[in-house]
């Protein structure tokens, strides 16, 4: 099987691109470069591709740097590792050094004490030594960035949110301060499954994900609309159009927020 990958991100309307706190990282791995043991399946697994998006909370300190560290760590296998805590501790230290070096003014120092926050959703595709014909997937999610699995133009899985009304203004997020994540284990969502040829995995940060679920629920055509997104320009056009459009309640059809989108098609 092969992967068809499309991804793009864009900032809130009225903001510069370098202010975008959504980050994306995709890592396609040579087959012989990485493997680990799946204790649950008691089999050697070979990760083939990892993709992640992270949405840094704009009202936190250096959120873009934090979300970039998270997607990078995911792409290196942080979520599959037994040493998740160590990996998290390592990138927290990196964030702290980055922030401390810039905390000259009193208000930056205060903001840095409060820390940074971000969502993370990642998917890893892998093969297993005992079932070489299968392509497996694993998802790890914290917060309200989502992954949707589409098979034959039907939505078969929504992780971690499956209804647009569940989006809240204050999601649980991965934090740079350990004490802000004391119950992280119970907030982490892990899901696994097996791919079929033609499956699409759509990763979206919250504004796009909320729009997608509402549109699919109310009009049934969100999957078809997203199928037409094949270039950066077509995603930007869709986002601009839906930010300007109004839904029945009078609110914008898509909230004005940073947008990250990844589509992985199993070929």
């Amino acid at each position: 099987m092969e992967f068809g990958v499309f991804h793009h991100r864009l900032p809130k309307a009225g903001h510069d691109f370098d202010e975008c706190a959504d980050n994306i990282q995709i890592e396609e791995l040579p087959i012989d470069s990485a493997y680990s043991t799946d204790a649950e399946a008691n089999s050697t697994i070979v990760p083939l591709l990892r993709a992640a998006i992270a949405d840094g909370a704009t009202d936190s300190a250096f959120p873009s740097y934090w979300s970039a560290l998270l997607v990078n760590a995911y792409s290196k296998g942080m979520c599959e590792s037994d040493s998740w805590d160590d990996a998290l501790a390592e990138i927290r230290q990196l964030w702290q050094e980055h922030a401390d070096a810039r905390a000259k003014a009193w208000y930056v120092r205060e903001k840095v004490v409060q820390g940074a926050f971000s969502t993370l959703v990642g998917v890893t595709f892998y093969s297993r030594a005992d079932r070489p014909a299968e392509l497996g997937w694993r998802v790890c999610a914290v917060g309200d960035s989502c992954i949707f699995i589409v098979r034959e133009n039907s939505l078969i899985k929504s992780i971690p949110i499956d209804d647009f009304v569940q989006f809240r203004s204050r999601p649980y997020l991965l934090a740079t301060n350990e004490q802000d994540n004391l119950n992280l284990e119970e907030k982490l969502r892990h899901h696994t499954g097996v791919c079929s040829t033609g499956d699409q995995f759509l990763l979206m940060s919250d504004a796009l994900a909320c729009w997608f679920l509402r549109r699919q629920s109310q009009h049934g055509d969100a999957i078809l609309v997203m199928n037409a997104i094949v270039t950066a320009e077509s995603l930007e056009d869709l986002v601009h159009e839906q930010r300007a459009a109004r839904c029945e309640s009078g609110y914008p059809a898509m909230r004005n927020d940073d947008v990250a989108f990844v589509r992985i098609e199993i070929k």
């Binding site: 909370a57 704009t58 810039r102 208000y107 930056v108 903001k111 204050r170 649980y172 009078g250």
Partner: protein
């Protein structure tokens, strides 16, 4: 739709503080004076507002800030390099405070209390002299905001925070109404009141009725206060679940929480 405008550098909103500096503010209050209570309250709000507007190493100009003092005279009250100016971008406000270190009590996680040093930026020191021309302060605020709104007609409506012991020279209700009727295209000015009172009625925050308020001054300030818009009540969750008729009024409490009811970026949920 009202009170839905996005607050951003391109479309900033505005905070205008009205500080009661009348002679009665020297009265004792909660181990200090009312004037000190007012100074601490505005300093804390400014501190929290600036921290919320901090992005990277700078403060984004999502708000303009103004301060009108009323007592012996009614005038703009920012000092130092900002003296004489009316509404000032928040990034300029951020750079001028005197930084103090104060001791603050925190729960130690084991049922006890520990004291820690905290940074406390100070823009305002206590002032108390003269009468309480609250009506004139409302009028100056209305005029100032009309001028500002000519430049930013689509802004989230300006927020006026009146900090007072609630004993005005004359009934200011009509002037307050005129102030609330100053409008952007997104709604009328929001007038919120902080009542610093010698009456012992405990803290009352964001009430939806005047039933528990201890005197006519408090009831008058409650009535003059704007209702919290739906969007702000929504953003207050899950910390607060405000009823529909909640007003922007606190009695012997601070309004720092209000800073978190504004839609200026994603915040994390509780731990």
């Amino acid at each position: 739709m009202v009170y839905e405008a996005e607050i951003s550098r391109a479309n900033p909103s505005c905070f205008l503080f009205l500080l009661d500096q009348s002679g009665s503010m020297q009265d004792a209050w909660s181990g200090t004076t009312k004037a000190q209570g007012v100074a601490d309250a505005i300093n804390r709000i400014l501190q929290n507002l600036i921290i919320r507007c901090t992005s990277g190493e700078s403060v984004l100009d999502r708000f303009s800030i103004g301060v009108i003092g009323y007592g012996a005279r009614v005038d703009f009250a920012l000092n130092s390099s900002l003296a004489g100016r009316k509404l000032i971008p928040i990034s300029e406000i951020a750079d001028v405070p005197r930084i103090e270190t104060r001791q603050k009590k925190f729960p130690d996680g084991a049922g006890g209390i520990v004291e820690q040093s905290v940074t406390f930026p100070v823009w305002f020191d206590p002032v108390a002299s003269g009468s309480t021309p609250m009506s004139q302060a409302f009028d100056l605020a209305a005029q100032t905001l009309k001028e500002w709104l000519m430049q930013y007609p689509d802004s989230f409506p300006p927020i006026v925070i009146n900090l007072t012991d609630g004993e005005p020279d004359k009934d200011p209700s009509r002037h307050a109404e005129q102030l609330r009727n100053v409008r952007s295209n997104d709604g009328g000015v929001l007038l919120f009141n902080i009542h610093i009172s010698s009456k012992d009625a405990g803290k009352i925050e964001f009430p939806d009725t005047d039933a528990k308020l201890p005197d006519n001054y408090a009831r008058q300030l409650f009535t003059m206060s704007s209702l919290l818009p739906d969007r702000m009540r929504d953003l207050a969750k899950p910390d607060y679940d405000f009823p529909l008729n909640t007003r922007g009024f606190v009695f012997n409490a601070d309004l720092v929480g209000l800073v978190n009811f504004l839609d200026i970026g994603t915040r994390a949920a509780q731990r």
